[in-house]
Amino acid sequence: MSSGRSVKATARPALTPFAVLAALVCAAPILAIAWIALSGGASDYLVHLAETRLPVYLLTSAQVGLIAAAGAGAIGTGLGWLIARCQFPGRNILSWVLVLPLAMPAYVAAYAWLDLSQAGGPLDVATAGLFPTIRGAWGAGLMFALVLYPYVYLLARDAFAAQSADAVQAARTLGASPFEAFRRVALPMARPAIAAGLALVIMESLADYGTVSHLGAPTLSIGLIRAWSGAGSLLDAARLSLVLVLVALFVFSLERAQRQRARTSAASGRHRPASRLQLTGRTGIGALSLCLLPLLLGLIIPLARLGWRALHAAYTPDVLEAAANSLFLAGTSALIAAGLGLLTAYALRTRGRIATGAARLAGLGYAVPGAVAAVGVLAILSGIQGWLDPLWRGMTGEVFPILLTGGAGALIFAYLSRFAAAAIGPAETALGRVTPTLDGAARTLGATGWTLLRRVHWPLIASGVAAAGLLVFVEVLKELPATMILRPFNFDTLAVTAHNFASDERLGEAALPSLAITLIALLPMAVVARYLSRDAKSGELDD
């Protein structure tokens, strides 16, 4: 069933060129960065860095990434399983509410938690110094775990929900306890989804700047920004970002390995969804509390702290226009990214070398700090403008107008390059559900071309594509550095507004825009959650 021939049978070569193009567009800024990094002359800055801070940067990056992954993995997997396989009070609402911490920018959570927990802060005073200060590599890793676990949760939940009851029940029949059945059967089957989520968590933690700089965790991206802002060497910053790209390659190859293993182990032609474990009484309350804990820590407590500060703020910022801008950027990018993600996933399915290579390249943008990706975008677009100059001069006598680097298009380009991985991963996972045998069966029954796509593929992948779009939507809402560099005149987004106040250490004024980010993320989240619950019902009817 995993033989080359049947996989080839699902290939859709007509789609491939578009997909490769899409992936290359996403990958272009990263390629530009690589070009910048490799083009300049040798500098002694990297030598200086290797002799001084580089080991610390690398060590801290590893710590932050691992802590974030461990935390987000535990929270996301646990909650994913609870929601997918259990029924308890509040479950239906929690199913989508649990995604909301993703709307909280990690740096905003960090501002709030440091404010709460540092010496003299309310938590420090209330516990007489027992509550540890949220800072350093541990603090940063924890912040990432708390706001990024929804990546793992979303993908793990869908994976657990899609698992056939047969396997778990077989394990139970063979004498496994429920926990053992989870650990030895359900978990390994969900591993590719969890790995895809963890890859995103690790990448985003490593590319982050705001959180680690505020909490004093010198990761590689701190070193990279220092190379740019302190030493004034964009060249060396680009070179350091190549290290992050290498780390990304490594993480993604680990994830890939998980996916390959799953291909042979999890394929099951027959699908019978398991009925949910009924948790009532104390266990029900226990499950509810487990779900509320990360919500409390990742979302409610930071927001409450900000809200409290907002009440004491001297000034209430106007967020309406920024909200409209954020919505415009996030909505547009999400739609395009979901489409690109799906196309790329299909291209990957062909197992063609070029398609696979292009998709992997596109995914790497996630590992590069937004500021650096934006520089790549600027380099490409200004290159195009410069290339058009002679032509334009011939026609009008002037330089080519600033059409490309001055508009929202440049921003969306940067977002796509940064977040393509967030769109490709879920789409690919979803498409993985469309097994070659399923295609074969559909073909036997006469379904080909668009009919096959529309009637067989789409129902199976729709939720994954929606999740992809949603992830990008929320990412763009929160995105900061690329937005700062590339935005048009007089164009504030919510994240920019929140950051400007927070970076001035004016938490009160930062509260309202942060709250608005969360509320806006809530909207599409509710829509998708409704859609997903419909999906689950129809899945049961299919059986």
Partner: protein, 345 residues
């Protein structure tokens, strides 16, 4: 997804038509394109009053200094930037090195200290901030600290709070020391401070002041306006933090206290150079100078400015380091390498 697409499409359609598209070429309405690293409420008030007074619209692009520089550099001849405005000397210097500024004649500006204007006419300062030392009222005697050098004494071991060396204000402070005393002396000082830290650097300048109030450290290095902001805050807790410490303006008997600037220059390819000039002059007007002091607690650069701010009034007068501002930018990279070597995170 069926629900998502129409929802997003509607949102897109709603906001797509509200895209601002300022154009410098259409001369009907005069405008000026401002690339600024500042995002203070005082500035918004300045823009509004400027437009009211002159009829010139202000288009703002705000990002960090390095990001602005990169964008102007890459856009080159077609850059719409009229004014580049940053909050520290190192960035002004970097923009100057990249050839982004036009040469202007600022000699008509009266009452400004000579080192606040670039000798080559690339930029002019319009507000300044001092890097000062705060000490605990309870645990440090008045007069125990009079200079930056005093903090290098071993008796401050485990007692100093300061933010990361990635912060440009720390870099400029050290760059000033390198300019005055040479790299070796500056490195010895930085190493001593790194050894005296009470905790690994975290948070911003206000968090260092909070560290004093909470008893985690006895001394902190901070920009003066963070202290002023807290002292004038509507939040009682913030005022209590400020009340727990006292500011020293160091080096009064030697080089003077380290001062950094907010400065602006007209872009080399400014499409609206005349409007840019009017705007920069407005930044130095009595009205604007008053706003910078009253709303953001900065020091004015024009002598005899009129304003009302008790906390700032209490800090003046002091002797500021009158080093050429360019020297801070020139030594910025060296300063960061020193920080790296002495392991000041």
């Amino acid at each position: 997804m069926r629900f998502l697409i129409p929802a997003l499409a509607a949102a897109t359609a709603l906001t797509a038509c509200s895209q601002p598209a300022p154009s410098s070429e259409e001369a009907e309405a005069r405008s000026v394109n401002l690339y600024t690293a500042r995002h203070y409420s005082s500035d918004e008030a300045v823009y509004a009053d400027f437009t009211a007074a002159t009829g010139i619209e202000v288009n703002v692009l705000q990002a960090s200094g390095d990001q602005l520089i990169e964008r102007v550099r890459v856009d080159g001849e077609r850059s719409p930037a009229d004014i580049i405005l940053t909050v520290d000397a190192a960035r002004l210097h970097r923009a100057e090195e990249a050839g982004l500024f036009a040469v202007s004649d600022f000699s008509n500006i009266e009452g400004i200290a000579p080192n606040m204007v670039d000798p080559d006419g690339h930029w002019i300062a319009f507000a300044s901030r001092a890097r000062v030392i705060a000490y605990s009222n309870d645990r440090v005697e008045a007069g125990e600290i009079t200079s930056y050098a005093d903090l290098a004494d071993p008796r401050w071991e485990g007692r100093i709070c300061v933010r990361s060396s990635g912060n440009v204000y720390n870099q400029s402070l050290l760059a000033g020391m390198i300019a005055h005393e040479g790299e070796e002396a500056a490195e010895a000082w930085a190493a001593a401070i790194a050894a005296n830290l009470a905790r690994a650097p975290q948070g911003g300048d206000r968090d260092q002041l909070r560290g004093i109030a909470a008893g985690e450290c006895d001394v902190a290095i901070t920009n003066h306006y963070y202290y002023a902001m807290m002292a004038r805050s509507s939040d009682e807790a913030d005022r209590a933090v400020a009340a727990a410490s006292t500011l020293v303006f160091p080096n009064q008997d030697t080089t003077g206290t380290h001062v950094n600037i907010s400065g602006a220059g007209i872009a080399a390819n400014a499409p609206n150079a005349e409007e840019a000039r009017i705007f920069i002059e407005y930044l130095l007007s009595a009205d604007s100078q008053r706003k910078f002091v009253e709303m953001t607690n900065e020091f004015p650069v024009i002598a005899d400015s009129q304003w009302d701010n008790d906390v700032i009034a209490g800090m003046l007068p002091f002797t500021a380091d009158d080093i050429a501002i360019d020297a801070l930018g020139e030594n910025n990279a060296a300063a960061q390498r020193v920080f790296d070597r002495v392991d000041w995170p």
